[in-house]
């Protein structure tokens, strides 16, 4: 007659497949507390699961690397025969990711045979290129001359206060990125602001709270 496995282990092993590492270790401790030792079948199973997870992690990482490599190769191939292609490739990368991730820059450096330092030299020179991922939502205030004269400074102050961050930063929860730009071409509607791609004209400081509340509501429904 087969000895029953320690009570509860049957179901818990099944559950373990979906547990993360911390939970698995937690299970080990619980088992130890319960039985005074860790039953063999549990420790084996957990070790196996951890191994599986590690393997999957490696696979994802590897895939990520190949994806990055493939993407970068594509961009480079598109601009292969063009002299001075670096900036256009960086534009393509930023279009794809919303910023220029470090791993991609490194891959680009390998692919083009250009020193990483030189790539960063170019990236940092141009304001348009970003090294940080954008927030889930973006608020951009125009600070061109027309908007400045019509009170964009007040809008910027209002956003600073309400978001608790300065322009160029993202809220700690990574939800809202706040930025200023120079002239978005709607001077007729100054002061102007772009909220998640939508341009709003004649913005008053009293409108800011409403726009932010809308964004936060969007975030809730998305979550």
């Amino acid at each position: 007659m087969k000895t029953n496995p320690p009570s509860g282990s049957e179901s818990s092993i099944a559950d373990l497949r979906h547990a993360d590492e911390a939970e698995l270790i937690d299970m080990l401790e619980k088992a130890e507390q319960k039985h005074g030792f860790i039953p063999r079948e549990i420790s084996d199973e957990i070790a196996r699961l951890l191994e599986v997870k590690l393997e999957r992690l490696r696979r994802i990482q590897g895939k990520l690397d190949t994806t990055i490599r493939r993407d970068v190769q594509q961009h480079v191939a598109h601009w292969r025969n063009e002299e001075g292609n670096l900036i256009m490739i960086l534009h393509a990368i930023q279009n794809q990711h919303g910023y220029i991730p470090r791993e991609v820059a490194m891959e680009l450096s390998r692919e083009l045979g250009v020193k990483l330092a030189r790539i960063y030299e170019v990236i940092t020179f141009y304001h348009y290129f970003k090294l940080q991922p954008p927030g889930a939502h973006n608020v951009t205030v125009c600070n061109g001359t027309a908007c400045y004269l019509k009170g964009s400074g007040d809008l910027i102050n209002e956003l600073r206060t309400q978001l608790g961050i300065a322009e160029g930063q993202t809220t700690p929860d990574r939800q809202i990125h706040f930025e200023t730009v120079r002239c978005i071409g709607c001077c007729g509607m100054a002061p102007a602001m772009v909220v998640d791609g939508k341009t709003c004209g004649h913005v008053k400081t009293s409108d800011v709270a409403g726009h932010l509340a809308n964004l936060r509501a969007k975030k809730e429904t998305a979550a």
Binding site: I87, Y126, F129, G144, L149, K150, G151, C183, G188, M189
Partner: protein
């Protein structure tokens, strides 16, 4: 699409396409789209399909009426052709019903034509009315009612429609009345004049000389000639309706490169990007340089933050700019061109890209264009948010894929430019003018403007102005005419304080000098520059110290840091200005400012550093007492000024919208 031949172009020249009888053109530039023009377009399209209406719905760029976005233009049988402003998407059904069911114009949205007539050459069918006075309470409705009643009394109500206009292009002239379709315009119309206008002008067809507005509009559209008229996404439209590529064909088949340059010399066109260097000479120098390759670059970097002339032209009429580039390339013997455009202008980039693709498809770019020996192609390079890349040598470095740092000149790009080859860099507006010169002749172009500054100039007038818009006027037009006659003066009827021209490299011109005719020389004498065409209106509430600080901060942020006078001088200057504006300046500061400015002007490597002091120096020159007041008044004065400025700013935005409601 099949390849275009020389014969095709000749046939198009001989017989331009017939326009459809009825159409609506929606102005889809960046400003229009932000205001809802794309949604409006869709709504109109729905209504058109739903009611099975035969009118053509067309996409165009912008006429320049930024204050009135979204803007449409409508042509319907039996009605005068009109522009409508503030045409919000929800008004689409109303517009359709009014025009196609009732055959009537809409109230409150018409932007009156700027082509005013002195003769009544057609029976009146429509009367536009608008009270342009500053008094309390608009009398527009009163006049509409009076006209309607009087027409009714005489049994003319069915024949003549009275329409409340949104903008007459005439300001502070009491009640303004325009008789359509002739566009005879009366100003300062009083209640008793209503009956007289109907008797004399509408019944008897006579013009009332005492009421007639005889001042013709200051604007002359050369650069903007197709903006708002053609579909920027269609080479076909450009070819059929805008004499597209005819100027290029003329240059290619009828003129030698030298003759093209000679024609440009006659036109006396000077570069519109800022410096005002004669365009023909730039081409000549580039052509004269022995080389295996020469490059032509269109500078679409438009760095002045708050100016949008070049964006508007690129978005509204991309093929004209490309045609200008083709002519330049032919004249210089270049086979490769670049459009350097700000990445922040995605729509301009998209439309130029489409223009290039279309031109390539029909053989206007590529090998042996139109069967000639001339070969040329062009591509786009994106700017990446660096003002200094508008400077020629920095722009070249950027196209080469490097940091956009300027390098010392000489050698000038016309000698050693892109990849070390002779290169001509031309501004967007400059190139857009070229086809017009080739079609109508250099002498025709030189017929506009002043002795030393020929032709017209586009300005983007913004700030505290009633109607922010693009304005194209002949050189020699005064600042006052631009701000008051064309743009309607200062917002909320405040008092004007100054006009800033030339953006971060320019200076302010005080109200007392507004009668200065605009030209390269006059603006320079006043301590400003023409620049690329930004024009910012400031009212009495605006602090000149703050404005100077704003521009200076811009230049400091944008300095590439390559040379010390600009990098260190600019930073120092900003520190001093900041101190002064907080009321913590001292008596010696102004002398230091002058010294630093002088050093920057003399020793900076490129135009950015050399001109960065301009806003500071010119505000000091004309508004020195404001700096003094800050220095003498101390912190309490500074707090008061910034408080007052805030209070003055707060209600401003609301007023611009009232007109539409």
């Amino acid at each position: 699409m099949k390849t275009l031949t020389r014969q095709d172009l000749a046939a198009l020249a001989a017989q331009p396409a017939a326009a459809p009888a009825e159409w609506i053109r929606v102005q889809l530039d960046t400003g229009g789209i932000a205001a809802g023009a794309e949604t409006l377009f869709t709504a109109l399209d729905h209504a058109r399909l739903e009611h099975r209406l035969p009118f053509a719905l067309q996409r165009t760029g912008s006429t320049g009426y930024a204050f009135a976005d979204p803007v449409v233009e409508v042509q319907t049988v039996g009605l005068p052709r009109v522009h409508y402003g503030h045409m919000m998407p929800e008004l689409a059904p109303q517009l359709i019903e009014s025009h196609f069911t009732h055959r009537r114009l809409l109230d409150d949205h018409v932007i009156a034509t700027r082509r005013r007539s002195l003769v009544l050459d057609a029976p009146v069918t429509h009367i536009l009315v608008r009270d342009t006075g500053n008094g309390p309470g608009s009398k527009t409705e009163f006049f509409q009612f009076s006209f309607q009643e009087e027409l009714k009394r005489r049994g003319l109500a069915d024949r003549v429609q009275v329409v409340r206009a949104f903008d007459m292009g005439i300001y502070d002239e009491g009640a303004v009345v325009q008789l359509l379709p002739s566009a005879v315009t009366y100003t300062n119309v009083l209640a008793p004049d209503v009956a007289r206008i109907i008797t004399e002008s509408i019944e008897a067809g006579k013009v009332l000389d005492d009421l007639l507005w005889k001042t013709s509009d200051k604007q002359v559209r050369i650069v903007l000639r197709h903006c708002g008229e053609v579909d920027p996404d269609s080479v076909d439209d450009y070819l059929r309706r805008a004499e597209g590529y005819q100027a290029f064909a003329r240059a290619l088949f009828e003129l030698t490169p030298e003759q093209v340059i000679a024609e440009m010399k006659v036109s006396a066109l000077r570069g519109r990007g800022g410096a005002g260097f004669p365009t023909w000479m730039k081409w000549q120098l580039t052509r004269a340089q022995p080389a295996t390759q020469r490059y032509v670059i269109c500078n679409g970097d438009e760095g002045d933050p708050g100016a949008f002339m070049d964006r508007s032209v690129l978005e509204s009429d991309p093929h004209t700019v490309l045609e200008g580039m083709l002519i330049a390339a032919y004249a210089m013997g270049s086979s490769q061109g670049y459009f350097y455009i700000r990445a922040e202008y995605p729509r301009a980039v998209e439309r130029i890209q489409r223009a290039l693709d279309q031109a390539r498809e029909i053989g206007l770019l590529g090998q042996n264009i139109l069967g000639s020996t001339f070969s040329f192609d062009a591509k786009i390079r994106l700017g990446a948010g660096a003002f200094v890349c508008g400077e020629e040598t920095a722009l070249i470095a950027s196209i080469e894929g490097k940091r956009g740092s300027p390098s010392p000149r000489p050698p000038y790009p016309s000698v050693r430019g892109l990849w070390g080859m002779p290169t001509a860099i031309n501004n967007v507006e400059t190139l857009a003018i070229v086809p017009a010169i080739l079609l109508k002749g250099g002498a025709w172009y030189a017929g506009h403007g002043t002795e030393t500054s020929k032709g017209t100039k586009v300005f983007a007038v913004t700030g505290k102005v009633r109607n922010a818009q693009l304005v194209e006027v002949p050189m020699g037009t005064t600042l006052r005419q631009i701000v008051f006659e064309v743009c309607g003066g200062v917002l909320d009827n405040k008092e004007i304080k100054a006009v800033q021209t030339g953006g971060p490299s320019g200076g302010v011109i005080p109200a007392s000098l507004l009668d200065t005719p605009v030209s390269y020389e006059t603006l320079q004498q006043l301590g400003s520059i023409m620049g690329s065409g930004g024009m910012l209106v400031m009212d009495k509430g605006d602090s000149m110290v703050e404005v100077a600080k704003f521009y200076l901060r811009f230049c400091v942020d944008e300095s590439c840091g390559k040379c010390a006078p600009c990098r260190i001088g600019g930073y120092q200057l900003l520190q001093i200005l900041d101190r002064i504006s907080r009321g913590r300046g001292n008596a010696g500061d102004l002398a230091i400012i002058h010294r630093v400015c002088h050093a920057m002007q003399k020793a900076s490597l490129c135009g950015l550093g050399q001109t960065a002091p301009n806003p500071v120096l010119s505000t000091l020159r004309y508004f020195g007492e404001e700096y003094q007041a800050f220095i003498e008044g101390g912190p309490s004065y500074a707090r008061k000024v910034s408080g007052a400025a805030k209070a003055a700013k707060a209600p401003a935005p609301a007023t611009t919208q009232e007109v539409s409601s």
